[in-house]
Amino acid sequence: MPKLIIDGQEIEFQQGQTVIQAALKHGIDIPHFCWHPKLSVSGNCRVCLVEIEKMPKLVIACSTLASEGMIVHTQSEKTLAARNAVMEFILINHPLDCPICDEAGECKLQDYAYQHSPGESRFVEEKQHKDKRVPVGPFVMLDVERCIMCSRCIRFCDEIAKDPELTFTKRGDRVTLATYPGREMDNPYSLNTTDICPVGALTNRDFRFHARVWDMSSTKSICTGCARGCNTEVWVRNNEIMRLTPRYNEEVNSYWMCDSGRLNTWKFVNAEDRVNSPQLRRDGLLVKVGWDEAFSAAASEIKLIGKEEIAFIGSAFATNEDNYVFAKFAKSVFGSKHLDFIRYTDPSFGDDILRRNDITPNSLGAELSGVAPSKSGKNIYEIIEGIKTGKIKALFVMEDDPVAAYSELESLFSKLDLLIVHATNYNKTTQLADIVFPAATFAEKNGTMVNFKRVIQRLRPATSTIELDRSLNGMSMSRLDKFGTKFDKWAQSTKRDARPSWKILTGLAAALGTKYKYQIAEDVFEELASAVDAFRGINYDDIGEIGIKIKKEFTAVEKV
């Protein structure tokens, strides 16, 4: 491999790499605003200027190809002087907005101003004034004054979202970012521009002013909006989810996620209509009861039902762990064959960038974990048919809302002798249920899901429930989480009395006289890994932060 020398360090590079790429690969960070690993090179911010021996002038590292024997200085006097000058130039017209700017705390310009600039301003003239609040799209707000004209957002729309919407108008210090006449920035990926904008010029209207970045904790998780399973960070303050941002995973989602996933997949976690304790129906109304009471009530009701008369509906929204224990519960505790889950597809959702028509996060995982009718068992359509003909008298639904999916079920479900539901929020199915167990959401539990590319990925708890303690359960903690007493407001934030489905089923199985030995989700996965070929040999540590691909031969499951 060819080599070049950066700051005295000999570095191997691949032919065709630029200096900045070669440097980054070896942990040398050359400052940059406009360069982004996934966007074309535009070379306009000039902050990546470096000195290369035998070259007459300083060159920008982002567009200079590395070549054999090159000697690059990123810390030489000349380089530093140029860098300072560029920083001073960029800061000339940049407003002193940090106190009201959402980007503060994660702003590249703020960081570089601290790291790479002289620390003092010589500019005493009046700064350029431009529009401060321009809604460039349904989800994105633009502050033109803060824009440093790096053009990342423009290139993102052109190259990644494949929908050119933005451009620069005017010249010199009057350059203004704008949408094309009559256009809005409304592509389904528009919010990614708020992540890549190195300053606070583009901000997320849904998150705007809601929280300071240094007040939140962030947890590595995945999006549950579709079968892609984009890697995310879940940002939490006072036990409330504030926003989702994408996390880099080349195999799954690169640096991006779609707006729908970013905005619509977590609000139910904070919502008022969460099921907040086990509930039993008494005189037509659901009433709060304790866990033990609910388990024994459910157990005694279930015992009255014959094994041919009950059916089980798992969920493509639930984790592998939940689905595995659900299937095991149905098969071993009941000997029931009628087990399936509902598939949701939305042909208008998918595209050829990230979004998939399968709008559930774990349909493949649910199948692999054993949620499928056994031989002569009924599939989902036959189960519904069975309820119609009266053959199925009881139904156990985990983390799904069949009544919302098939409206004709409303009248059918009211005929059932027994309807047990695990739900995170009240929904159409819980309205008809006899027993409701409060299920933990994706943000409140450990677990795994399998995306459409057969990548098995982990969910981690980001918000705590009554049974989860931030520090004892190793959850990520914000500054406020680490300190405080029970009298402090932030320590009194809402914690729901919800449990992951596998745990609810473990309790219910015990009430029915079958003991499962799971303490934590990892115990369930361990058993799953020994019981199911597709997961064999995999453990939580291997899955880690970016997941593991399951071999093809194990996933050839028949499609219904």
Partner: protein, 164 residues
């Protein structure tokens, strides 16, 4: 541990005590005729100088709005985590204002860091030192208690401009 040795015994006069008592009484007598430093609090109130750090308050502009832009820096710097700020959007030019602003006066240690860090001169240390509560809730000062008209704080603001 080293043995303690008394350096010098008291001499005869000292052991008598009487001269010492007389000395003490003389001092008392002298002070009795000097001007008084104490005051009849609470009938008479102490008005501190502008360098005094009483409870932190928020500056209220002439138009009745707060000067604060809810940047959260005071909350970030506050060593005992006494301040909680929730920002929200406003139509006015400053774009952002504190929807909620709360100082827990049980936590506050009157360090003045909040005043020092504030980029807007929006939180300053007042001259108010009369802080007594009988329960925890009363110690949570919200915007209604924190906002003080700017003209009442001019003293402190001038002091800060001179010495900060």
């Amino acid at each position: 541990m080293a043995e303690r040795i008394r350096k010098e015994d008291l001499n005869f006069l000292e052991r008598l005590y009487i001269p010492e008592i007389v000395k003490g009484l003389a001092l008392t007598l002298k002070v009795m005729f000097k001007p008084k430093f104490t005051m009849e609090y609470p009938e008479v109130k102490f008005i501190p100088p502008s360098s005094y750090r009483g409870r932190p308050v928020l500056v209220m502009e002439e138009d009745g709005t707060e000067r604060c832009v809810a940047c959260g820096l005071c909350s970030r710097v506050c060593p005992p985590l006494a301040i909680q700020v929730q920002a929200a959007e406003t139509e006015s030019e400053k774009e952002r204002y504190p929807e909620k602003f709360e100082i827990n006066m049980i936590r506050c240690i009157f360090c003045g860091f909040c005043e020092e860090v504030c980029p807007e001169e929006a939180i300053v240390m007042s001259k108010d030192y009369e802080l007594a509560f009988t329960n925890r809730e009363d110690a949570l000062y919200g915007k209604e208690k924190l906002l003080v008209p700017v003209h009442q704080l001019q003293d402190r603001i001038d002091f800060l401009r001179n010495y900060k």
